[in-house]
């Protein structure tokens, strides 16, 4: 046994760090595979691996030429490199007294050359290596070692970035409504599907004063930047929950103007309040134009947009508009991602049939299927508020 633990290596910290990353046994990741391919090309070696250490095994997030993603940790070169915490280069293992009797050298795959550099987790814990292997002896000059360290740094930042993104996706999910307001005589539901991992679409709702306050907004662009702005907008609109929808939108607009004027970005939004008893809907539409009511008689009303998008930094007098949701009517607001997946010949007919045949839940399920089936290029969000028909009301009373 040649790789006795070194006194200063904290294996428990390594194990905690690798478990926190949650990366073990995850699928291959093209962003990391790209680095291993590049390393193979640059160094001209038959085997390259991004190896991570678990308790008793080494697990490869990416590998070329090794033919497997798992191997014992005991006696492994990479375990040695992690413990040493430095670039390790072994030009010819069979001529190295420390390594000549190693099972990976004496036996299959008869390794001769090894070079590896440690990968660090966010707290500096050494969790694995980027390593190069060959069955022929070779050397690695100082310049090449520097290159190996550069590539290891790249792999490391990809691993940590993915981890940050996973956290962000979880946070965004918790910012979405987890319960549906209890509104007798109404059914409320929503669906959102991100094009990537983070969404620039926002939907929100909460019950207040015998009704429901709700928002659907679409931040220009998509991904992490758009998601950050969406989270800020949600917080702004939720402040002072019982103020007029117009005041809430004006204030959100003012804040966005101040924050994003230089970014050349903007947000389209529909923000409304529905009074359950009367079916009266007060709303402000900021350049969104995607609010509709499917009437009980199967005709559509388009809720007219009354203002420019938020965050334009242009003077704008905003106005509140009003609509009436009668028994059997269905209000729907969506982001333009929905338009991309609907039948361009007859989008209204398609939505009407889905709502009438499948109900609110069935229609959203169908939208979800369409969104995930398409090569989604935009975030997609739909919110539906359906008021029971008179017949349905009579049945329940």
């Amino acid at each position: 046994m040649t790789t006795a633990p070194l006194a200063d290596f904290d294996d428990a910290a390594r194990q905690r760090a690798i478990e926190e990353l949650g990366i073990l046994d995850t699928p291959r990741d093209e962003r990391i595979d790209r680095v291993t391919r590049l390393a193979q090309e640059m160094f001209g070696v038959p085997m390259v691996s991004v190896t991570l250490l678990d308790r008793e095994r080494q697990w490869r997030k990416s590998e070329i030429g090794l033919g497997g993603r798992e191997a014992p940790r005991e006696d492994a070169f990479c375990d040695f490199t992690v413990r040493e915490g430095r670039t390790v280069v072994i030009p010819d293992a069979s001529a190295d007294e420390l390594w000549a009797a190693n099972p990976f050298v004496e036996g299959d795959p008869h390794l001769r050359f090894y070079a590896g550099h440690p990968l660090l987790a966010g707290g500096g814990e050494r969790i694995g290596t980027l390593c190069l292997l060959d069955t022929k002896p070779r050397s690695l000059d100082e310049r090449e070692q520097e290159l190996l360290r550069e590539l290891a740094g790249w792999v490391q930042s990809e691993i940590l970035r993915q981890n940050e993104l996973d956290d962000a996706v979880a946070v965004q999910a918790t910012l979405r409504p987890r319960t549906v307001p209890e509104l007798p005589g109404y059914e409320i539901a929503a669906l959102t599907v991100a094009a990537g991992q983070m969404s620039g679409d926002l939907y929100d709702w909460y019950a207040i004063g015998g009704g429901v306050r709700f928002t659907l907004a679409d931040v220009m662009g998509k991904g992490l930047g758009a998601a950050l702005l969406a989270a800020g907008l949600r917080a702004s609109l939720r402040t002072l929950p019982d103020r007029e929808v117009l005041d809430a939108v004006r204030e959100a607009d003012r804040l966005l103007d101040a924050d994003v004027a230089e970014l050349g970005t903007f947000v389209t939004a529909f923000h409304g309040h529905l009074d359950a008893g009367t079916g009266s809907l007060d709303y402000v539409d900021a350049g969104h134009s995607l609010g509709f009511i499917l009437r009980a008689d199967d005709t559509w009303d388009h809720l007219v947009s009354t203002g420019m998008p938020l965050g334009m930094g242009l003077p704008e007098l905003r106005a509140q508009a009003h609509a009436q949701l009668g028994p059997g009517d269905v209000f729907m607001v969506c982001s333009d991602g929905l338009l991309d997946v609907l039948d361009p010949e007859d989008p209204f007919g398609q939505v009407r049939r889905a709502l009438r045949e499948g109900g609110v839940r069935g229609a959203l399920d169908e939208a979800g299927r369409l969104a995930r089936g398409a090569t989604a290029t935009d975030d997609l969000t739909v919110m539906v508020v359906a008021r029971e028909s008179v017949a349905a009301q009579e049945r329940t009373t």
Partner: protein, 110 residues
């Protein structure tokens, strides 16, 4: 996407073609910002060759509009096709970005 620049009576015409989307938006913004920095604050964006615009493209137009106005000038758009007009209408941005029929006439009478 190509960006062409030419002079017209009292203004600079920036001609675009293809799709005005996230990939091109930064180019347009940089082009107009260069013009404004050089004191050319009356800009016409000729959209005759643009067959599609998305929200990033709109953002670039609005950003460019603000840049020219801050510098005391203006930005106008010309010869937009149906899809561009529709997007401007839906977002109510046609109120700040009126479409002029012809790039060379966009600043007539100013």
């Amino acid at each position: 996407m190509n960006i062409e620049r030419r002079d017209s009576a009292g203004a600079v015409v920036v001609g675009l073609d293809g799709r005005l989307t996230a990939a091109v938006a930064p180019l347009l913004r940089a082009e107009v910002s260069d013009l404004v920095a050089a004191g050319r604050t009356r800009v016409v964006v000729d959209l005759a060759g643009v067959d599609f615009i998305d929200s990033s493209g709109l953002g670039a137009l609005i950003g460019a509009l603000k840049a020219t106005r801050v510098a005391g000038g203006d930005l106008r758009i010309a010869a937009a096709g149906e899809q561009v007009r529709q997007v401007l209408r839906l977002t109510n941005l046609d109120r700040v970005l009126q479409v002029y029929p012809d790039a060379d006439g966009a600043f007539d009478g100013v």
